[in-house]
Amino acid sequence: MSRVYTPPMRQHLKQPMRLAPGRVTVVLVLLGTMLLALLSRAIYLQVVQQDFLQNQGDARFRRTLLLEANRGVIADRNGEPLAISTPVQSIWASPVDMSPVPAAKLAALSKLLEMPVAELNEKFADKKREFVYLKRQISPQLAQQVLALEIPGVAKQQEYRRYYPAGEMLSHVIGFTGVDGKGQEGLELTREKMLAGKHGSRTVLKDRRGHIVEDLAVIEPPRDGQTLTLSIDKRIQYLAYRELSAAMVANKAKAGGVVVLDAQTGEVLALANTPSYNPNNRAVLEPEMRRNRAVVDMFEPGSTMKPFPVAMVLDAGKITPSTWFDTRPYTIGPAAVRDTHPNPSLTVTGIIQKSSNVGSSKIAAMFSPEDMWTFYRKSGFGQSPQSGFPGESSGRLRDWQGWRPIEQATMSFGYGVTVSLVQLARAYTIFTHDGALLPLSFTRLAQANPGRPVIRPDTAKKMRDMMITVTEEGGTAVRAQVLGYHVGGKSGTARKLVGGRYAADKHIGLFVGFAPATNPRLIVAVMIDEPGAGYYYGGTVAGPAFSNIMAGSLRILGVEPDAPSNNTLIPEHKISDVREET
């Protein structure tokens, strides 16, 4: 650059810039104000309005998805499914979005949903509604066909439905779930927590078209419900239900119940009641059908109670099975104790075999009311059997302090004390399990519970031997015999209390027994309520059902026979031969 020539522009720039001082101030103030405005706006949005704006943003893009947990399967002890949830579709409509449906499509829809056109029109009538169910819980195939009609405003929604393959034969044990999928009865209700599992969730960002762009938080995976393995054996359950239903018909009875227990573990292998209902179709569901009679109903056990006072006295060593008793009628105060088929004298074994009221009351009188009360309590009477069912009854065993002598006598043959069928069946575990009372279990046990000792093992053995005579020639329940096995047990016939008086024509027929009696595997208790076909003795009405259920169950379990089974026919007993006390 030479100094000789200077271009005019450079020269011009070299001149000092002169601005009016006022102008500078104005511009600075203006810029400052704008900056301030921006800053305060930013602060306002970031601090004051932050929550609101964040919410608005989240509402547009952030979504929390519910990850549904599957309800657990209920299976029997061999893994056969008894309750399974499976997805079904519900068809719904949004009348507000609907234009009149062409008649042809409406007819097709009505045919698919098996619903009259008029009913459909009624559902579409309210044009303000945005949601109305057309039909809930239909098969996915049918739902597909409905959607194929392409009626605008008609859509489907996935739901879960619980299916019960065992149907009516097991409905009282399992119960059922409501439309919302929550348990409402039976084990579905009491094991709700375990079966339901836990829903998971997932928080995501979704773009305008609904695609998931990003996971915002840690995915909380759903925890599916656990599989509940019951102690029930489906094969035995079916047998029990079938035989009970047959006995109900044969005896024209009002109701009935069966409990099958594993004699060594206390597991419930079958529990059936009639009348029953189909849990898959509960359109007709009367309270009578819903009653889980074996657990809820209390009744006076009658003669099935007699082995208990006998075991108590035998255990104390005061008598032996061959001790003789005078069994002629006698009176306690104003009340007479007598047998309808009197024997002048009987041994203890005879008292059990012939079911003598006189004998058992005399045996019971060898103990104080307090001792007898304690023994009954120890055998589980008057106490909750802890079956885990809603509404289970504990039975009634009044406090010993209020007992009169006649009451102690009647309690020895099962009047004045009430029990439920499961309670009674459970009490018999003291005879089958070496004197220990086993807790009931509706779930399969990995290991048997030792139980609580009530009587000595040798007393239990003597009781078993005595109870075998009940099903032998001369006993009250020959019809409870099972070919090839020794069967021990006790029949019972109790008059029903109607309005505070014992009715002459309303009875409960009972039989509780175990087999093979030399080494018991099963306890079966059968109750027939109000048999109306002319016979009412427990050995007659409940004995045959007991025999069929026991025989079938022993065969299913492959239990080896403990008695000769050389196919000699058991003599057919005339029903009139069977004598039993009521």
Binding site: S85, P165, A166, Y238, L483, G484
Partner: protein, 92 residues
């Protein structure tokens, strides 16, 4: 001069890293999508398994088999009197 060279190398490195981040992000999204698909399939198969179990136990229901055995094949459950039990020691 050597400093400029180093800068160039680092720049190249950064570009390389950036590209690999982009690629691996893409791969991870794709794999995630596949995972989603497989999990969906798993759920579907689970559902189908449940339905098949249900179907099996419906067709295998004791009542149904008994009915069909009695009606179609004229079979009978033997009564207790018609059963022989054979033990290892022979008929008792």
């Amino acid at each position: 001069m050597s400093l400029n060279k180093l800068n160039a190398v680092l720049l190249l490195g950064v570009i390389g890293c950036a590209m690999s981040v982009v690629t691996s992000q893409h791969v991870s999204r794709r794999l995630y999508g596949e995972l989603e698909k497989e999990q969906k399939l798993q759920r579907q198969l689970n559902v189908e398994y449940g339905q098949l179990l249900l179907e099996q136990s419906t067709w295998g229901a004791h009542a149904l088999i008994e009915k069909s055995a009695v009606a179609r094949m004229a079979m009978l459950t033997p009564t207790q009197r018609q059963v022989h039990v054979i033990t290892p020691e022979g008929v008792r």
